[in-house]
C-alpha cells in the first residue's frame, strides 16, 4: 500500500482489489442464486435476486438497512425457513445442485455453507478448545487429528497466538473481537466451501474489525466468502465483487452487481451511485 497524504476515496481503495485473483485452492465450483424471492407471510420482502458467487472470491452485499440483505443470505444456507411464516421461490445451486431440491439433507448443506453472525455467540458452556471443535461434535464427525485441526482453525482465524495457552478457559472470557474470531474458527472446523458472514464486524471496535478483515482476505484463498456489510469502506477494502441491494417501498431487489472497483468508481445505475457517494443511506 502506498502512502497517501489525501484520504483514500472508496474508488482508490477498491482499485487496490482489481487485480486480485480468486483463491486457487478454493473447493467446489462456487454458489449460484437464481431468481430468489422471499416472503414473510404475504409480505414480499425480496424479489428476483440472481447472483453468481465464483469459488475463491469475496462478495460484499451492500445497501441501506431493511432491504433484504440478511434475508437473502439466510436463503443461501436454508436458515430462512426457520421463521414460521417464511416462504421462498427460486434456486440456490451449490456445485451445480439445488440445495432446496427434495430429498436434500439440510444439515449436510449447513456443513458446506457455514455462517458467522453479527453478535459473537460462542457456546458459554464449553471451553475455547471445545468451542472450536463443537461443530464436529454436533454433527458427530470423526477426525483423528482433533488437536491439529483445532490449532489450524485458530491459526486461520488469527486467534491462535492469543489463546494457545488458555484453551481450557471459558468460551465467554474473551473480548468481543476475540469471540468473533473464535466463532470464525468454529465455522472453519467443519471445512465449509462457502462462508456466509452477516455483518460480522458491526458489533466490534475498529481494531478488531481490521484483524478480521485480514482473516477474511486470507480465508478467501481456500473458500468462497459472502459478506453482508453496512460499511462501504469495508466492502471496498476486502471484496472482489459487490452487489447493491435496495428496497424502495417495493420488495428488496439487487440493483447492480460487478467487480468492486467498478461499483465504487463507475457504477452503472443512478441509485447505486447515489448510495456509494453518500447521498442517502
Amino acid at each position: 500500500m502506498t502512502e497517501n497524504t489525501k484520504p483514500s476515496s472508496l474508488a482508490s481503495v477498491a482499485a487496490g482489489n482489481a487485480n486480485r485473483t480468486p483463491g486457487k485452492h478454493a473447493m467446489g465450483t462456487g454458489l449460484e442464486a437464481r431468481s430468489i424471492h422471499a416472503w414473510f407471510g404475504k409480505n414480499h420482502v425480496l424479489a428476483d435476486v440472481s447472483l453468481d458467487f465464483a469459488a475463491g472470491t469475496v462478495t460484499a452485499l451492500i445497501g441501506p438497512s431493511g432491504c433484504g440483505k440478511s434475508t437473502f443470505i439466510r436463503t443461501l444456507n436454508r436458515m430462512h425457513e426457520f421463521i414460521p411464516t417464511a416462504a421462498m421461490a427460486g434456486e440456490v445451486l451449490l456445485d451445480g445442485r439445488d440445495i432446496y431440491a427434495s430429498g436434500v439433507d439440510v444439515t449436510k448443506i449447513r456443513l458446506k455453507i457455514g455462517m458467522v453472525f453479527q453478535k459473537p455467540n460462542p457456546f458459554p458452556s464449553m471451553t475455547i478448545g471445545e468451542n472450536v471443535l463443537s461443530g464436529l461434535k454436533l454433527a458427530q464427525l470423526k477426525r483423528s487429528n482433533k488437536e491439529e485441526l483445532m490449532e489450524e482453525c485458530l491459526v486461520r482465524a488469527g486467534l491462535w497466538n492469543e489463546v494457545k495457552d488458555r484453551l481450557d478457559a471459558h468460551g465467554g472470557s474473551l473480548s468481543g473481537g476475540q469471540q468473533q474470531r473464535l466463532c470464525i474458527a468454529r465455522s472453519l472446523a467443519v471445512n465449509p466451501q462457502v462462508l456466509l458472514m452477516d455483518e460480522p464486524c458491526s458489533a466490534l471496535d475498529p481494531g478488531s474489525t481490521l484483524r478480521i478483515e485480514e482473516t477474511i482476505r486470507e480465508l478467501s484463498e481456500t473458500m468462497t466468502i459472502i459478506i453482508v456489510t453496512h460499511n462501504m469502506q469495508q466492502a471496498a477494502r476486502i471484496s472482489d465483487y459487490t452487489a447493491f441491494f435496495l428496497a424502495d417501498g417495493h420488495p428488496g431487489m439487487m440493483i447492480e452487481t460487478g467487480p468492486t472497483s467498478e461499483i465504487f468508481s463507475n457504477p452503472k445505475d443512478e441509485r447505486t451511485e447515489n448510495y456509494v457517494t453518500g447521498r442517502f443511506g
Partner: protein
Amino acid sequence: MTLAEAKQINAPTPRVITTKPRTSDKIFRAVIFTGALSSLVILAAIAIFLGLRGFEILAREGLSFITGYEWYSSVNSDGTASEDPSVYGIGAMLIGTIVTALIAVSIGVPISIAAALYLNFYAPISIRGFLVGVIDLMAAFPSILFGLWGFNVLMPSGEYWAKLLHKYLGWIPLFDVSTPFFSRSPFIAGLVLAIMIIPIVTSIAREVFSQTPLDRIQAAYALGATKWSMIRAVVLPFGYSGVVGGAMLGLGRAMGETVAVFTVLNIIFQANFQILLGAGGNVASLIILKFGEASAEEIKALMAAGLMLFLLTLLVNMLADLLVNRTVKQGR
C-alpha cells in the same frame, strides 16, 4: 491542556439534592409499606404459633420427634387414659412424605421436561397455544379432584402396573412386597402426585427453555446440528439450573399435598420402603387422620408435626426459587 494540568483543576463537588415528600405521600408510603409487610408477618406468625403450641411436645421428645417411629397417645378422645406413656415420633411419616414425593418427582419431572421441550421446539404452531392452555388448566384443578379421580379411576390401573412391576422387577428390594397387597400404595400416591406436579414443572421448564438466547440456537443450526443435537448443546446446558429449581418446586408441592394422598394411600404407621406395598403415610395425612379424635395433648403434637412440614417445604421452596430466578435472569 496536558493530563497533569487537567488533574490539577479542582472539579466542583456534586450538590446534595434532597426532597421532602409531601404529607400525603408520606401517609401513602406508610400505608403501602404496612400492607407489604403482611407476608413477613404471616410467615413469622405461622412459625411462631405452630411452634408455641407444639413446643411442649417438641421439648419432651427432642430429636426423637423427627426420628422416632412410634405415635401413641395415651389419652383418648373421650378422656380416658391408658397406662402407657404417650410417644410422638413422626419419623415414619416423614419418610413417607419424602418417599412419595421422590416417586412423584422421578416420574413427573422427566415427563415435564419432555413436554416443555415438545411445546417449545417440536409442537406445530397451530396447536401450541392450545396445548399450553390445557396444561395450565390442569394446574388449576383442585387437589381433591385428583384425589377423587385417583381413587376411582387411576387406582385399578395403578394396581395393575404395580403387579407388573413386581412380576418383572420384583428382585429389586424397592419393588418387592412382603404381602401381595398392592392397593393404595406409595407408588400409586406418587403417581397421583406426579400428575399433579406435571403442570407446574412443565410451566417453569417451558419459561426457562424459551429464554435460551436465539443466536446461540441459530449458531448451532448453522453448524449443521439436528434438533436434538442443538437441544443437547445449547438448550439443556442453559436451562439446567432453572429446571432443577422447577423440579424442587414440584418436590415441595408433592411434600405438602394432603387430600390427594389421603384418599389413595393406606395409612399405616410404619416406614415403608417397599413402594408397591399398600402401606405408608405422609406427615400431612397423619395430621388429618388424627385430628378428628385427638386429645388436647395430641393436638399439640400435631401442631409440632405441622411446624416440621412447614419448615421442610419452606426450605425446599426457597432453594427452588433461587435456582429458577438465576436462570430466568441469565437470559435477559
